[in-house]
């Protein structure tokens, strides 16, 4: 490269070139070969050159090793779950985007791995490939809460709107985990049968408010267990506890499944009662053999159960109107129940209930006055529990947590009242108290030291 403006001191020519062949840059005259000026080794400013290392040596910035490893881990997860290439590509893209963000660039390597799992999770959701967070946390062997927190943060940063995962979608994948196909006849079930039965149970549970708001895995476990029992309700199966069943199927039991089982059995009893050929009471103990029939005729049974419930409420209303002593909330009961009617089953909508549909609108006012009425009655339960009056209600309504009694409200506080001195003094220690306190502290600290 020719350097203009320079002349060789030896021969006066201006053909000076940069000679970078050697370690030291030199300006050399091409005509006579003399070195015009030598390189900058000695001339570098003290403390290193002005250009920093990272900006001068690298031609292109090398990609972060951790990012590369993270992408590899992500790809490994994709292989394990056997997702398609679209999901893999999208999750990789999300991971790279999120990785660079300030909230994730400096976190621990473990959290970065969790981040990879979350990116995969959100891509699966977007592409209709349902997996639960529990699956991801299992795969990553990470704390479920950490996965949850990371997921929420990532979704907020990347501004993704992912649809929720329905229990019915993940049911099949879950039930395939249960390895009970290779047992003797009385215990074995094929995965397909089990899935189908469990799916039907889950749908029924969803209609009776057992599923909404709850974690999916305990529900699925309960559905699989009850489904397995009902597919062949022999003594062996009926007597096997959930614990034993999980051991049999080589699946880790979760405690919440026990309550789900109880709730589902209760729901099945309510429906089983309506079976026309049943003699005697249907209890949670003897409902399992009927599950097959219940599931086959579930819509009809739902309708019958609703109607029977309405009739009992009507009867109660009649007796209560004859006897004014009893609870006056009966009219609102019917209102509430009727309002409940369209909720429980989509099939119910097809049923013509025009006369029932209108009253709720104008009787709603009654519902609000009901609490006052029952208060006046002096009933033991001051807030009427609408959950007890309908056929199906979310369990948290039917069995409400006992709340601390509400404190007597301060009424008509203006905020500018006079504050009495005596009240403030009650919050201050007397000098004697202070002395005692200091002495005690000193004594305790001395004791601690010695």
């Amino acid at each position: 490269m020719f350097r203009s403006g320079l002349t060789c001191p030896g021969c006066g020519s201006s053909n000076i070139v940069d000679d970078d062949l050697y370690a030291q840059a030199q300006l050399v005259c091409t005509d006579c070969g003399s070195v015009v000026s030598e390189g900058t080794l000695a001339d570098e400013p003290v403390g290193g050159s002005v250009v920093s290392y990272s900006r001068s040596t690298a031609v292109t910035k090398k990609p972060c090793m951790n990012l590369i490893k993270g992408v590899q881990r992500l790809k490994a997860l994709c292989r394990i779950l056997r997702v398609n290439s679209e999901i893999e590509d999208q999750s990789e893209k999300y991971y790279k985007d999120a990785y660079q963000h300030e909230s994730f660039i400096n976190v621990t390597l473990q959290k970065k791995e969790v981040l990879a799992g979350c990116c995969l999770l959100v891509s699966c959701r977007l592409r209709n490939w349902p997996i639960t967070m529990g699956t991801i946390s299992c795969l990553l062997d990470a704390d479920f809460n950490v996965v949850g927190a990371t997921y929420k943060e990532m979704v907020k940063i990347l501004n993704i709107k992912a649809p929720i995962v329905n229990v019915t979608d993940v049911m099949e994948a879950h039930s395939q985990e249960y390895k009970i196909s290779s047992y003797p006849e009385e215990l074995a079930e094929t995965s397909k049968d089990l899935t189908k039965r469990a799916l039907a149970l889950v749908e029924l549970a969803a209609e009776s408010w057992i599923v909404t708001g709850r974690r999916p895995v305990p529900i699925m476990m309960a559905a699989v267990y009850l489904g397995w029992q009902s597919l062949n309700p022999n003594q062996h199966r009926l007597r096997m506890s959930l614990e034993k069943f999980c051991q049999l199927a080589q699946v880790k039991k979760c405690r919440a499944a026990m309550t789900r089982i109880a709730e589902m059995k209760e729901m099945l009893c309510k429906l089983g009662k309506e079976l026309p050929w049943i003699r005697g009471a249907v209890t949670p103990d003897n409902v399992i053999p009927q599950v097959d029939d219940i599931l086959q005729n579930r819509y009809a049974l739902l309708r019958r159960a609703m109607r029977a419930h309405e009739d009992t409420l009507q009867a109660e209303c009649q007796t209560s109107s004859a006897d004014p002593q009893t609870e006056q909330t009966a009219p609102s009961q019917i209102t509430e129940h009727v309002a409940q009617t369209p909720n429980t089953s989509s099939v119910e909508q097809s049923e013509p209930n025009p006369d029932r549909a209108e009253p709720p609108a104008d009787k709603e006012a009654n519902l609000q006055t009901a609490p006052e009425q029952s208060d006046v009655q002096g009933s033991p339960d001051p807030a009427p529990n609408w959950g007890k009056r309908v056929l199906f209600a979310p369990p948290c309504v039917v069995h409400p947590k006992k709340r601390r009694a509400p404190q007597p409200e301060l009424q008509d506080v203006t905020g500018d009242e006079e504050i009495s001195d005596s009240e403030i003094d009650s919050y201050l220690r007397t000098p004697r108290e202070v002395r005692d306190f200091v002495l005690t502290q000193k004594m305790l600290s001395e004791e601690g030291k010695s």
């Binding site: 929720i164 709850r214 974690r215 369209p342 909720n343 609408w386 959950g387």
Partner: protein, 353 residues
């Protein structure tokens, strides 16, 4: 040219009113009046609509003279107004031929009796507001229009009360009032504080500098907790109303004062209000998150409730399957009430499904 047709139609309106007066005085034949109305409405409806739109878009001060109209001074004021209107407004959207009068009456108007015409006139103010593009009824406008005539209205369509834009019924409130559960407020006591001294001298204080750099003080009435920082700033939580929060903050300030610090009460501000209520019916959260995806976040694996981030007002609602709703993020009580009134119809919509 357009202005002249405007005034020409004014004269027509006046004629109609005269005739209405005559009918009311028993002078004119009822059926003749009906026929007259039929004709004028058929022709004037387009213009009337335009006039109403013009009136709505005109500045409110113009309504001033009109609202006082009740009688014969009507013409002068109306033409004044119309003159002003004409100067400001572009009436080009009006149809060109407003002069046709000979169209036969419409079917629906023939059957109406005069009483129904007069009845409609009582509502005419409201009805006319419906026909305008602005759906919120402006009382000024209403007053001006009902002031325009005391008799029947030839302006409104004959079918009684057929609004063109549906008005949100004011009466359909939920009837449920969210109860405030917690108020968080801050105040500046205006002087640096010695936290160790406060913790020593006050009975109701706890101070653990290794855990948290503030004194935690509690009072019994109103039942609240305060975090008092060495800079003199204080956070007061746990009150059930704005006034209670203020009273509590003042009590804390008084305690600090009594301990010998020159505490003041500066910049008291409510930072957050939390309220809860119960709609008393179960809610399908899965359905709600499907239809309101841009506002809702529902992760049953993480939290049983649906988190609904309302944009206006900017409130976060936690909606549970039991029907209980928690509202938080408000700086004022009205925001909570507004947010609940916004969410209640949405939730009710899910109930009937």
């Amino acid at each position: 040219m357009q202005l002249s047709s405007f005034t020409w139609n004014l004269l027509e309106i006046l004629q109609i009113l005269d005739q209405v007066d005559q009918v009311r005085c028993g002078v004119m034949d009822e059926s003749a009046l009906e026929r007259y109305f039929d004709d004028s409405i058929a022709n004037d409806s387009a213009f009337i609509l335009g006039e109403e739109l013009g009136l709505q878009s005109s500045a409110p001060p113009l309504d001033g003279p009109a609202s006082s109209v009740q009688n014969s001074s009507f013409l002068s004021t109306k033409s004044e107004r119309s003159g002003e209107l004409g100067d400001e407004l572009d009436l080009s959207f009006l149809p060109d031929d407003l002069s046709t009068q000979e169209e036969p009456g419409q079917d629906d108007t023939g059957a109406d009796s005069q009483t129904s015409i007069l009845d409609v006139s009582q509502d005419s103010g409201v009805g006319l507001n419906f026909t305008s593009q602005d759906s919120t009824a402006e009382p000024q406008q209403e007053a001006s229009i009902s002031g325009l005539r005391t008799g029947a209205s030839p302006f409104c369509p004959m079918t009684p009360m057929t609004p063109m834009t549906p008005m949100t019924p004011v009466t359909e409130r939920s009837g449920i009032i969210p109860q405030l559960q917690n108020i968080v407020s801050t105040v500046n006591l205006g002087c640096p504080l010695d936290l160790k001294f406060i913790a020593l001298q006050a009975r109701n204080a706890e101070y653990n500098p290794k855990r948290f750099a503030a004194v935690i003080m509690r009072i019994r009435e109103p039942r609240t907790t305060a975090l008092i920082f060495s800079s003199g700033k204080m956070v007061c939580t746990g009150a059930k109303s704005e006034e209670q929060s203020r009273l509590a903050a003042r009590k804390y300030a008084r305690v600090v004062q009594k301990l010998g610090f020159p505490a003041r009460f500066l910049d008291f501000k409510i930072q957050n209000m939390v309220a809860s209520c119960d709609v008393c019916f179960p809610i399908r959260l899965e359905g709600l998150v499907l239809t309101h995806q841009q506002f809702s976040s529902y992760e049953p694996e993480l939290f049983p409730g649906l988190i609904y981030r309302m944009v206006k007002p900017r409130i976060v609602l936690l909606i549970f399957v039991s029907g209980k709703v928690v509202l938080t993020g408000a700086k004022e009580r009205a925001e909570i009430y507004e947010a609940f009134e916004n969410i209640y119809p949405i939730l009710k919509g899910f109930r009937k499904q």
